[in-house]
Symmetry: C2
Subunit: 525 residues, 2 copies
Amino acid sequence: MNITRRGILQGSTVVAAAASSGAMGAGRADRTERWGLYEIALTGPASGNPFDDVRVSATFTCDGRPVRVPGFYDGDGTYRVRFSPPDLGLWRWTTTSNATALDGQTGSVRAVEPGRGNHGPVRVTRDGFHFVHADGTPYRQIGTTSYSWALQSDAKCAQTLATLRASPFNKMRMCVFPNVPSAVTDPFVRTGPGAANWDPARFDVAYFRRFEDRIRALCDQGIQADIILYHPYDEKRGYSDMTRADDERYLRYVAARWGAYRNVWWSMANEYDAIKSKSVADWDHLFGVLVAADPHDRLRSIHQINTYYDHRKPWITHASVQNGAAVLDDNRAELHRTMTGKPVIFDEVCYEGNSTKRWGNLTGEEMTERFWWATVGGTYVGHSETTEPNRNADFSWLGQGGSLAGTSAPRLAFLKRIMEEGPGTGIDAIQPWWGYHLGGQEYAWYLRYFGQEKPDVWQVRLPGKGPESLKRYHLDIIDTWNMTIDRADGHFSMARASDYDVHDFNRPSIALPGRPYMAIRMVAV
Amino acid sequence: MNITRRGILQGSTVVAAAASSGAMGAGRADRTERWGLYEIALTGPASGNPFDDVRVSATFTCDGRPVRVPGFYDGDGTYRVRFSPPDLGLWRWTTTSNATALDGQTGSVRAVEPGRGNHGPVRVTRDGFHFVHADGTPYRQIGTTSYSWALQSDAKCAQTLATLRASPFNKMRMCVFPNVPSAVTDPFVRTGPGAANWDPARFDVAYFRRFEDRIRALCDQGIQADIILYHPYDEKRGYSDMTRADDERYLRYVAARWGAYRNVWWSMANEYDAIKSKSVADWDHLFGVLVAADPHDRLRSIHQINTYYDHRKPWITHASVQNGAAVLDDNRAELHRTMTGKPVIFDEVCYEGNSTKRWGNLTGEEMTERFWWATVGGTYVGHSETTEPNRNADFSWLGQGGSLAGTSAPRLAFLKRIMEEGPGTGIDAIQPWWGYHLGGQEYAWYLRYFGQEKPDVWQVRLPGKGPESLKRYHLDIIDTWNMTIDRADGHFSMARASDYDVHDFNRPSIALPGRPYMAIRMVAV
């Protein structure tokens, strides 16, 4: 018996094949989109502790390439294997299990062309510093954070999703474990009334099912789910202080359960260095477990408070950094690329809002400014907002989601438009160590940002030594706060200004309006 | 027969024990200072190619701790083993060699208390971010670079040493291989008239002996010799493009020959990434060779042009960085510590002088400014100067040494004095990601620098949450260019200003003279 559920992933197809022993015949193959989610459902043992006692996986093979996909127990004797085919074609599968009922099942699924809106998972670009969907569509990260939004009531979650639909945000950082008052708080089966009375060996499958509904809802909206696996804010529950064996079981469970959703990213921890029960060696070990457990090879990083994790380590796909000062200067931001050799996302740069804490009281202007400096430095930023009537960030967008009261979001949408109109290969800092403060791609597209400066004039000088630097450019004066773009008349025709620079001899400078938050964009004609 | 030569290392003792087969009896032990240089001279084979054919080492043992020290061939049938005893006590030694005449020699040397001026080699501090001599004396790096000074005429070398004596510089970066016109240019035995006609398997021992005279002269002046083992500026000779086997022979030779000088540091390369014949894997391999060949475990780093080497790698003791922009902002400088976890020296930040190149035309003010920002960021800087009548830096201090024409050196001496009056544990950035721009040690000693700003007033606010922040401070207004220190009357008695800051309620600010290059120093009473 095959059950086909369509449209659960927007522009995609989820196929669930419910197999029981010997039930899979030589019938017509299931179909799913490339990068969609295909699920095998199997019936097996329900006694004992299936989370520990039963191992099941399926090996998918297409054109001789096998992918072994671990499955997971979903309660009531049901086991599932979820697979997102990386390539078009017919994928034949065979299950392996230590439970006879789950072993040796076979079937096949044909991965067909993805539908509209399905661009595949996000990967790191070939140059190593940006992001791109598997189908080649650039992914220009404008992140936000709402730690426990997914754990709120259905109504509140719907409100959060509506807010996101009207926003520029295409990545959501979200915790598996609650960090603020939430509607659901028990990822594990409870064993008694106290906060710490739960069984790390038994997952509450309803909790995880509910969470993946939120992952899928984000996917439907084209938003990446940056899933925070551990955080230091639940001391009284201790979810981040489990034993190594419990941590390994947990990571294997989430990887099997959620890794096939194409919008999943793994954030191993928020403020890892504030979790005192784990050492760097522990984190390194857990990354090894996650890599081995995740055949979909989703993006992986870890976020710090004080002590930077070494993002050069091979299992890290991009740097996730907390640093509010680094994004007040394009050079500081760029140094993170230089020193990690990877894409950099400043996932926490202080938040817009009214918190009494110094980490949560930026104006909309200050929030927006951080995005612009980081962009010129060739890096990416995450937003969030603390605004709350009682100035308690736990109940704000940052903690629970809901609605946004701030002023940065429309400006970030404006920035996103500038990025989308920019080079498909991303914005890189251009000769950053020589004081130009330019981002873009040489001889094609330049962005200069002035932050809180209020210049009346800018010397229109670009670095360049060879004949390829003698181009003609349009010049746009951008008010990043008021969201206006004024194109200067005519062109700037570059000629040699010095051994290192070019300029237009007849037009060496451009007047600016003396306001803050201005930018210049120059595009080769 | 023992030959004792005294006073070659200032405040130290060099003992040369000339042993021949069976000549070392049970006589009185030689003596040398702890951290001094003890040398065993042995007579052995002179035929064939002793550099390749003969291996000799001595194992020194004191209190059961053996140190195996490789020796080297010094021409004319003479072999030497050089050892700098790390601890006081009687060190007994036995030689091992594949040449009978060099094998099984024994002797002993007593390491006695070091004399005045001998503070031992420089090591990394326990906190991981600063430098200290082995005897506990802080080492506050104020570096300079003169690539080929040691390869100039004796007269020019004497002039360079005299210039250094009158300067604040306590580290000299210097190349083994010539990079500019030099009096000596042949580290290897020549095999023909062309630049590339030399035998990598045969060292010109006179070249190396002459070079170590310069190392020793620097040691006598208390100056660290940061020996650059490879550089990309001798393409026509190809010294940096040898085969792996030749590179290994070379590294083992310099480690055996020079590693016992306590002022030696190893800079694997200048602008390693401009040496196209070697990959990062090659450099990693060569570090492994160097570590194995150097029982004295001297400091090790490598310097880049564009692509930062990963200074987190375990064989790197400190980051050596070229970046002129990073030292125009204390935060940028500090990020290098955060991202390497090691002491950071910006060994190239552009140079003071009159070069037509953008890397060599800083004013004295600009050179000095870079040192101050880096200092507040908890890091160190290297100076050099390009000034030359024909604006050809090859013939300047940077290339050949000689004299200095610039204006920064006295200001760097002034800065060094400030550092020496500061915390013995070094200057660290204080809450650098929160916009204070303060260096020092919390609740004890603070430095604020303003660079090219011309403030009329400074809000005297220090970060601090607990009662330990409620101290009284002296405040000095420092003109870093005019080298004046003006102490403000009375004290600043800190009281709580906010959740995060303290200030003196009666004296929340201090007037400043509106000049550039000012600094504030606050010292707890």
